[in-house]
């Protein structure tokens, strides 16, 4: 060894690399922000950024729900359809049945929770992977949404309902504040509570969790209920934002949530994920959507880009996993 530089300088390179590797999603986000601020002149304006974060808040909220299910090793592909159904139902409640929002909103939160319970109950009773279960229920929920909607645009909500999706507190859009609150509570539950431990245990090793006394089945149902509950918050905000009850609202929402979760390091196999990563993932998706709209990409090209991003996110997840297992093999073999 002819290298006489101090140890820490020699290690600096690998260390920076290690830190960067851990924060790949964050670096991607920085890169995209820089890129778009150069190529899209309207991108880095206060007005646009505010629009951007309001856009992401809707999928951001339900992504937190999805994350609970994903960390436990499950998946919920019915999020978008839950919104389609509840959105129409909430509109009917307020317009056709003339219910006060103060009653209709808690009711729809209950309905959302029940939809989640249906997913959970089917998963444990049919013993089929939730991927298939929720693929099935997503069609059912969406179909019922269409049926009760009867091809109408439902309008005529009370003005008091406008605040949730369109209001501001200190200049911050209400949905953004709600997203932050949901994310903070979600993060607290996952990282600090006894319940959170059980979620990670379930996703990390289901059999070990069972033998450690975790009631696997009730946990699964509860997690789907949490996901349904949080998703119905999104329903309320979206309807208040759009102010028209229609079946288009919410469609494809699960796609953005799933991509964001995977980008942010929530593992497809469960047992891993942080709220910070999830938020970064959500912002990446939001930035992409927003920039593509600014650059007036045709709709279909946007779909191509989004599909590509999902696959990259999955590839990244798998790559991280295999890198880890390689390191582990190296350690075990040594």
């Amino acid at each position: 060894m002819t290298n006489h530089r101090p140890e820490f300088i020699n290690n600096l390179g690998p260390r920076i690399l290690a830190v960067m590797k851990k924060n790949v999603p964050f670096l991607i986000l920085l890169f995209l922000l820089l890129l778009f601020s150069f190529i899209a002149p309207n991108f880095m304006t206060f007005g646009n950024l505010r629009t951007l974060i309001r856009q992401i808040s809707f999928s951001g909220i339900s992504a937190v729900g999805l994350m609970f299910v994903m960390i436990s090793g499950g998946i919920d592909l019915s999020i978008g359809s839950q919104v389609v159904f509840s959105n129409v139902l909430l509109a009917i409640m307020m317009v056709d049945w003339k219910l006060d929002p103060a009653l209709a909103i808690p009711l729809i939160l209950l309905v959302g929770t029940i939809l989640g319970a249906v997913n959970g109950y089917l998963t444990i009773s049919l013993k089929i992977h939730p991927l298939i279960i929720t693929l099935g229920t997503s069609q059912i929920f969406k179909g019922i949404g269409y049926i009760i909607n009867r091809s109408r645009n439902i309008m005529g909500f009370p003005d008091s309902f406008r605040w949730f999706g369109q209001g501001y507190v200190w200049g911050i859009p209400v949905p953004v504040i709600i997203m932050i609150v949901v994310a903070l509570i979600g993060s607290f539950i996952l990282t600090r509570t006894y319940f959170g431990r059980k979620v990670f245990a379930l996703g990390g090793n289901e059999e070990a969790a069972r033998l450690a006394g975790v009631r696997i089945n009730s946990m699964k149902v509860i997690l789907f209920m949490i996901c349904g509950f949080i998703t119905s918050i999104t329903t309320v905000l979206l309807l208040s934002r759009v102010f028209t009850g229609q079946t288009i609202t919410g469609q494809g929402l699960e796609f953005d949530c799933l991509t964001a979760a995977l980008l942010g390091g929530v593992s497809f196999k469960g047992g891993e994920g942080t709220i910070f990563g999830l938020i970064v993932g959500i912002i990446i998706i939001g930035v992409l959507n927003n920039a593509m709209q600014l650059a007036s990409f045709p709709d279909f090209s946007q779909t191509v880009v989004k599909g590509t991003v999902l696959l990259i996110a999955v590839a990244f997840d798998v790559y991280q996993k295999s890198r880890k297992s390689k390191e582990t093999i190296a350690k075990v073999a040594a």
């Binding site: 990670f200 990390g204 450690a212 009631r215 891993e272 350690k331 075990v332």
Partner: protein, 495 residues
């Protein structure tokens, strides 16, 4: 005439980030010998095998096979030279037949189609050599572990193997199945095949091997003729210091009855009655498939009890789920610690406190200071070797993983502990520590049930042994009557 050197390693070095897995290792293997390879976990045995099999690239050194020198070996090259490895984890496709597995990668020159009938015939012929009753047509997933092992060997033999490397082949096998495997190894040896045999069980090394090489910390230590060495010497060579291998003496006699089972039936077991006292180690013997693990699952509520009664300290209890068992202070240390005992990707302390995380939470929020305290306490008490409590369990050695499993049960303050194969795949040093811990626990009044396929360990550790055979209790043996052959007879259903 000296036998021919078939495989020769010269100064093999392999570095992994942070560790020197193989350090200038040189070794010779002779044609037609059974050569045992010994070393603690982390000594570099697995890395060495992988180097020969071409599963990893070595950094420097030469591998000579049949006189030919190689600097770099690929898996296919190694295969073509007649090297076959049977890893601890089987490489079989469960949903294919035995014959299809044996000839999985074989190409047929005459046809692109897979001729099932012909392959089955060929496979049956290969299996005939082993005089076993395995139907070449049956699915691998329907076979016992022991039969799957034989299929692995058959797979190797069908490829005209010259050097057969076996990594802990006896680990999943019961005593009589090991006997059968030894017969097969002897037959291969007579046909001129070199067998490299890796095992933690020294008695097997003495029974089967001609020569034995010892590795330690990535270095080659020495090679001995098996006939000219002894247990104690090999152990000292492996650990690099004097280490007494013994079963620690117990201070306190067993107390009152802690757990009594009456006519337990379910999960494939029938009519099992026994009792275990506080401070007693009750050994449970039997062949693989005798229903021992199933019994543990019954006691722990992990499987459904159809009939029977369980009494804890004389009081009847209903245990319907693992959480019931934990509430009654029963702890289970499963045989498959990676699959059932541990959360591999989680931190050491996370794992240790998991079963009691509810108790150390207030309003559902985990008290992390208490968590740290408890984890640190057990890390020190049972000497878990980990750089930090935040280390992922997956990065620990087998012995230390087993200690984390043990720490979990201790943290839960179990009164009754069920150990299922507590020392499987663990090196000599860690084994001793586990034995000492079990003894200490028994001395402190904990009732221990120990399922083990290692006869020596059973005889050494138990106060009493019950023997199971085909899901039923075959007999009970008191310490004064301990006798390996008698227990084996009971286990095979002879008595």
């Amino acid at each position: 005439m000296d036998p021919k050197v078939i495989l020769s390693l010269e100064n093999i070095t392999k570095k992994y980030p942070g560790v020197l897995a193989l350090n200038q290792v040189s070794m010779d293997f002779l044609e037609g010998e059974v050569h045992a390879l010994l070393g603690e976990n982390g000594a570099g045995k697995s890395t060495l095998i992988k180097a020969v099999a071409g599963a990893i690239d070595i950094d420097s050194g030469i591998i000579k096979i049949n006189g030919q020198e190689y600097h770099k070996i690929t898996p296919s090259l190694s295969r073509s030279l007649g090297v076959e490895v049977i890893y601890q984890e089987f490489n079989l496709v469960p949903a294919l037949s035995v014959a299809e597995n044996i000839y999985l990668c074989e190409k047929n020159e005459n046809s692109i189609l897979f001729n099932a009938k012909e392959v089955e015939k060929k496979a049956a012929k290969v299996l005939e050599q082993f005089d076993v009753k395995i139907d070449a047509h049956s699915m691998v997933q329907d076979l016992s572990i022991a039969d799957q092992q034989i299929v692995e060997i058959a797979k190797a033999v069908s490829k005209k193997v010259k050097i057969l490397i076996m990594d802990e082949p006896s680990a999943p096998l019961s005593v009589s199945e090991v006997e059968m495997m030894f017969k097969i190894i002897k037959r291969l040896k007579n046909n001129g095949v070199t067998v490299i045999y890796i095992s933690h069980r020294l008695e097997e090394v003495f029974r089967i091997s001609d020569r034995v090489s010892v590795m330690r910390d990535g270095c080659y230590v020495t090679t001995k003729n098996t006939k000219e060495t002894n247990r104690q010497e090999l152990i000292n060579l492996m650990v690099g210091r004097e280490l007494k291998e013994s079963y620690p003496a117990r201070k306190n006699p067993p107390g009152e009855i802690a757990l009594e089972a009456r006519n337990l039936t379910g999960n494939g077991d029938r009519n099992i009655s026994f009792s275990v006292r506080k401070g007693e180690i009750l050994g449970i013997s039997g062949l693989v498939g005798a229903g021992r693990t199933e019994l543990a699952q019954l006691l722990f509520g992990a499987a459904k009890m159809e009939q029977g009664e369980l009494l804890i300290k004389g009081i009847p209890v209903k245990i319907k789920s693992p959480s019931d068992a934990i509430r009654h202070r029963i702890g289970l240390l499963t045989e498959d610690r990676k699959g059932q005992g541990l959360f591999l990707e989680m931190a050491v302390k996370w794992n240790i406190v998991f079963p009691i995380v509810k108790q150390i939470s207030k309003y559902g929020v985990v008290n992390t200071r208490k968590e740290e305290e408890i984890a640190r306490h057990f890390k020190e008490r049972i000497n878990i070797k980990t750089p930090s409590l935040l280390q992922q369990v997956i990065n620990l050695s087998g012995g230390n993983q087993q200690k984390v499993v043990l720490a979990k049960s201790l943290a839960a303050e179990s009164d009754i502990l069920i150990f299922d194969e507590p020392t499987r795949g663990i090196d000599v040093g860690a084994k001793q520590e586990i034995y000492h811990l079990m003894t200490e626990l028994a001395d402190n009044g904990i009732a221990i049930l120990m399922i083990s396929s290692d006869m020596e360990e059973l005889l050494g550790m138990s106060d009493r042994i019950i023997v199971m055979c085909e899901g039923e209790l075959a007999g009970e043996v008191q310490k004064a009557q301990f006798n390996q052959n008698y227990i084996l007879d009971l286990a095979s259903g002879i008595h």
